[in-house]
């Protein structure tokens, strides 16, 4: 069995875990991150993609609101390629309590969130899908944020400082001796091989799996697993994030996100942290509520539904759902349970991941006797892509292709452009819905972190557009058959990939998306005869 040694092991490849890895690396603490699947396969990619201004929490939880607006401003600064400065709106409808608006305005002011009332007629002229019944509307600094890019930004930045990442490695045991954590045992999920890593500290940042990880060390951490379902519309319905101006509830946020619009969410407590199956009834419920803000919602095309599990945390509470705080908690298990060398970071939300990481690493660093201060709020995640390089990119990938690729790839964009310049065939767009070039796909396949088509999808957005992988998946597989991880059974690769795509399409199978699914079925089952293929 392979044995490794490192100062800190971070468990969980979500926003918090990768944020922690980067923070550790910037403070010069050697660390390795272990993740049971691909980065961001869990909650960090299964949310609205909303970078909260904090306005949503202003009335109920001022502290959370203040944290949000501070982190919002930091992320805009350090990760401009991950944040889309859409701005956000809070709209009030006739059935909403008008007094709530007044309380909300005061609360926003107290939390330091800029909110400005705007002319409703102007707003509807600019965003004609909104209900003409809107009574008041306010602008807040909400933005859209790309979870995948943030995570990869964290990891790439951490790697530059020597940190390591092991994806598809599940923790199977946490070793301890004399009241101290001594290391972890891992199982490679792709080939079943075991390896162990000796360490001084383990940081449990496993999100909804946090309770299970703690249990391996014999600890009890009560993570409430709260499933939220969201839906993705085929195009941008509006230009800004739209929230409902009333106490937070289901289906009251629309986020325009690149080419699509996300509407969510629902809230149900579940037992299994991997329970990400969106339900048909939840989708119908979302549309019904969303229709109050966007009356013609039913006629717009949904491309898929998806669900994520929020890891909520409340010490000594069995409550669930919207009543549980969205705040995070940092558990020092030495103090709490008498086990040294282990901390858990639980609860919280995407917007404040960096702050959660900072607090966690502050604690860990003090226990390790490291004095280096946190630098994650000041140092940019990626260097901005130069205008000159972007222009070169536009020549090979076109305007939208280049812009999106530059945002996704950050520092690696130059390499991908060069590939396409050298070989024009590599500049060809393979995923036409999301405008992803072969050069970018090969770059992802080549990175060492891509073992499945799904891994490439998460890095590039290929297969995430209108056709949901119908046309790009077989095309891409054809181009990638020279890579060892894609040289095996193509039927298996395609089936795994498409089943995941269809999982999201199934709850929204009507109208044009039903036709899309029929076309997809026709191509794979009839034309490629995959049902009969061995």
């Amino acid at each position: 069995m392979e044995t490794d040694k490192v100062q800190v092991v971070v468990i969980g490849g979500g926003a918090t875990g990768t944020g922690i890895l980067r923070d550790l690396a910037l403070r010069g603490i050697p660390a390795v991150l272990v993740e049971q699947g691909d980065l961001a396969h869990g909650t960090s990619s299964r949310f609205h993609g909303l970078l909260h201004s904090g306005a949503r929490y202003a009335v109920k939880d001022k502290e959370a609101a203040r944290e949000c607006i501070e982190e919002n401003m930091i992320l805009r600064r350090i990760a401009p390629n991950c944040v889309e400065l859409t701005g956000g709106l809070f709209v009030q409808l006739p059935e909403d309590d008008p007094q709530y608006a007044d309380r909300w305005i005061t609360a926003c002011a107290e939390a330091g969130i800029n909110c400005e009332e705007i002319d409703v007629q102007e707003l509807i002229k600019k965003n004609p899908v909104l209900s003409p019944n809107v009574t008041r509307a306010f602008k807040v600094p909400d933005c859209a944020v790309d979870g995948f890019r943030i995570l990869w930004g964290n990891v790439n930045s951490a790697r530059r400082y020597g940190a390591r990442v092991l994806t598809y490695h599940r923790v199977s045991a946490i070793h301890q001796s004399n009241g101290r954590v001594t290391g972890v045992e891992l199982i490679n999920q792709l080939n079943g091989q075991k390896r162990s890593v000796e360490c001084e500290m383990v940081i449990n940042a496993a999100g909804p799996w946090g309770g299970e990880v703690a249990a391996m060390a014999g600890l009890e951490v009560n993570v409430i697993k709260d499933k939220g379902t969201l839906v993705a519309y085929n195009h941008r319905l509006m230009s800004m994030v739209v929230n409902r101006l009333r106490p937070p509830g289901d289906g009251d946020i629309f986020v325009p996100h690149g080419t699509i619009t996300i509407l969510g969410t629902t809230s149900t407590t579940v037992d299994n942290p991997g329970c990400t199956k969106p339900g048909h009834n939840e989708v119908l419920e979302l549309i019904k509520i969303g229709q109050e803000m966007v009356p013609e919602l039913e006629s717009y095309r949904l491309i898929r539904a998806f669900a994520g599990v929020r890891p909520l945390y409340q010490e000594n509470s069995a409550a669930g759902g919207r009543s549980v705080t969205r705040n995070f908690a940092l558990l020092d298990h030495r103090q709490r349970d008498g086990l040294a060398g282990m901390v858990s970071i639980v609860g919280g939300k995407f917007t404040t991941f960096r702050l959660m990481a900072e607090k966690t690493v502050d604690l860990v660093a003090s226990q390790l006797g490291v004095n280096a201060p946190c630098r994650t709020a000041r140092e940019p995640l990626t260097a901005p892509v130069s205008e000159e390089l972007l222009e070169r990119g536009k020549k090979v990938f076109g305007v939208p292709g280049a812009k999106k690729a530059a945002e996704r790839l950050g520092d690696s964009f130059a390499q991908v452009v060069e590939q396409a310049e050298k070989n024009p065939d590599k500049g060809r767009i393979f995923c036409e819905c999301e405008v992803v070039s072969l050069a970018e796909i090969e770059h992802a396949a080549h990175s060492g972190d891509s073992f499945t088509l799904g891994d490439i999808r998460r890095k590039t957005r290929m297969g995430m557009g209108t056709c949901q992988g119908t046309f790009c998946s077989y095309r891409i597989l054809g181009a990638l058959s020279g890579y060892p991880q894609f040289a095996g059974n193509h039927r298996e690769y395609l089936t795994k990939f498409l089943q995941k795509r269809w999982k999201g399409m199934r709850p929204v199978l009507w109208g044009q998306q039903l036709r899309e699914a029929q076309l997809s079925t026709g191509i794979y089952c009839t034309l490629f005869a995959m049902e009969r293929m061995r």
Binding site: H235, T259, S299, P400, E432, R515
Partner: protein, 404 residues
């Protein structure tokens, strides 16, 4: 974006039938195709209006994509708007601005049409134009007529049938092929119907095809107001150019959101108009024998109008005439497209099918409704090409309608 437009965008299921039928994508990789430039990038343009691919300049605007789309997506309108966006961002070359103004070129040529025709045939001058402006030296230029249709046309005194017909001739007939307009008058006179004419603006299609949408919109508004006036006074409007027809009826609505509903009832292709007369038993079907075999080429814009081939039914009434369908798809000229240096070869490659069909059928005359298709077919094959009206006029009386 209008609600209709959003729904049209959502209708695309990416089946790519438009790409597989695109005549340009068939012969070159330079065009990213109607789907990518249309509904695909349209989703990006909602975030970033500048999301236009430079390859949009290679679209011929043949509208084959609209015809084949099984989902009712206005693919060509999305491509046209994208080109407009591209041109408004990056500007149009001087050549495109010149070629797009076929009306101005026609008016300028009025000063000395014979001289213009002679200059257009001078090789050194053409090479210079290719070098300086990018206008292909190899493509045959349309010849300007000595006198315009509006100058030549003298309304005849005909017994009143109570039918009021206004003719929208379009720039090509007016400046280059007045004989087509005169043939129309002859055919309608044969049926005791008097044709009225009027000075219109260019329909704007060459402007649209070159991405100059603002000017085209202004002309559209003027033309529509004028046509509306005639409709209000009880006129039927007839056209002989399928491209003008499609632009007035469809493009004005899809691209400029103008109300073209009145045109849908009252504006007809001349052969549609004659078919209506035939159905009512009012068409004069006394035709002279015409022992001819001709090939027929259906222009893309006639196909896109969705009215079939209205001339087929009428021409069948002429004794002795045999019409063989070339059935070879787009001719490739696409108005101003084939005159552009960098597109000439593509245009010729698309038209190869038409060349082959003419050779295979062994016809020495071809008929087609579109002036630009006529020019291209003549350029490709050397055979004589006429408007079907000229054949019909020949069968109506003793004139010399088929002499070039």
């Amino acid at each position: 974006m209008s609600s209709d437009h959003r729904l049209a965008l959502d209708n695309c299921i990416k089946c790519s039938i438009c790409v597989s039928h695109c005549p340009v994508a068939r012969v070159t990789d330079k065009f990213a195709g109607p789907k990518q430039n249309g509904p695909d990038l349209e989703r990006f343009r909602l975030e970033e209006p500048a999301a236009v691919h430079p390859s949009i300049g290679y679209c011929t605007n043949c509208k084959g994509c609209d015809v084949v789309c099984p989902s009712g997506v206005a693919v060509s309108a999305m491509n046209c708007r994208a080109r407009g966006e591209y041109v408004s961002l990056h500007g149009a070359p001087l050549r495109d601005k010149i070629l797009a103004r076929v009306d101005r070129m026609g008016r300028a040529a009025r000063l000395a049409p014979s001289l213009v025709n002679r200059l257009a045939g001078l090789r050194p001058l053409r090479l210079l134009a290719e070098k300086m402006l990018g206008i292909s030296a190899a493509m045959t230029m349309p010849r300007y007529a000595k006198k315009t249709f509006l100058e030549l046309y003298k309304p005849k005194n005909i017994g009143d049938t109570g039918r009021k017909v206004l003719y929208y001739p379009g720039c090509y007939v007016n400046y280059n092929a007045p004989e087509v307009g005169l043939a129309l008058a002859e055919v309608l006179a044969h049926n005791n119907i008097r044709v009225e004419v009027e000075q219109f603006d260019c329909c704007g299609l060459p402007l649209i095809a070159n991405g100059l949408l603002d000017t085209a919109r202004d002309q559209a508004k003027k033309n529509l107001a004028k046509l509306q006036g005639y409709i209000n006074r009880g006129y039927d409007i007839v056209t002989t150019c399928p491209s003008c027809h499609l632009t007035l009826r469809q493009e004005y609505r899809e691209l400029f959101q103008l109300n073209t509903d009145p045109l849908h009832e009252k504006m007809l292709d001349v052969f549609e108009y004659l078919s209506v007369l035939l159905q009512q038993g009012k068409l004069v079907t006394r035709f002279e024998e015409l022992p001819l075999q001709v090939g027929y080429h259906q222009p893309c814009h006639l196909k896109a109008a969705g009215c079939g081939v209205p001339s087929r039914e009428i021409l069948q009434l002429i004794p002795g005439l045999r019409v063989a369908d070339l059935d070879a798809g787009c001719c490739g000229l696409a108005g101003t497209y084939g005159f552009k240096k960098e597109k000439y070869a593509i245009s010729q490659a698309i038209g190869r099918n038409v060349f082959n069909a003419v050779k295979e059928l062994g016809v020495r005359q071809v008929i087609s409704e579109c002036g630009m298709c006529q020019l291209q077919i003549h350029h490709l094959t050397g055979v004589a090409v006429y408007h079907p009206l000229q054949v019909l006029a020949q069968a109506c009386g003793p004139g010399k309608w088929l002499a070039k």
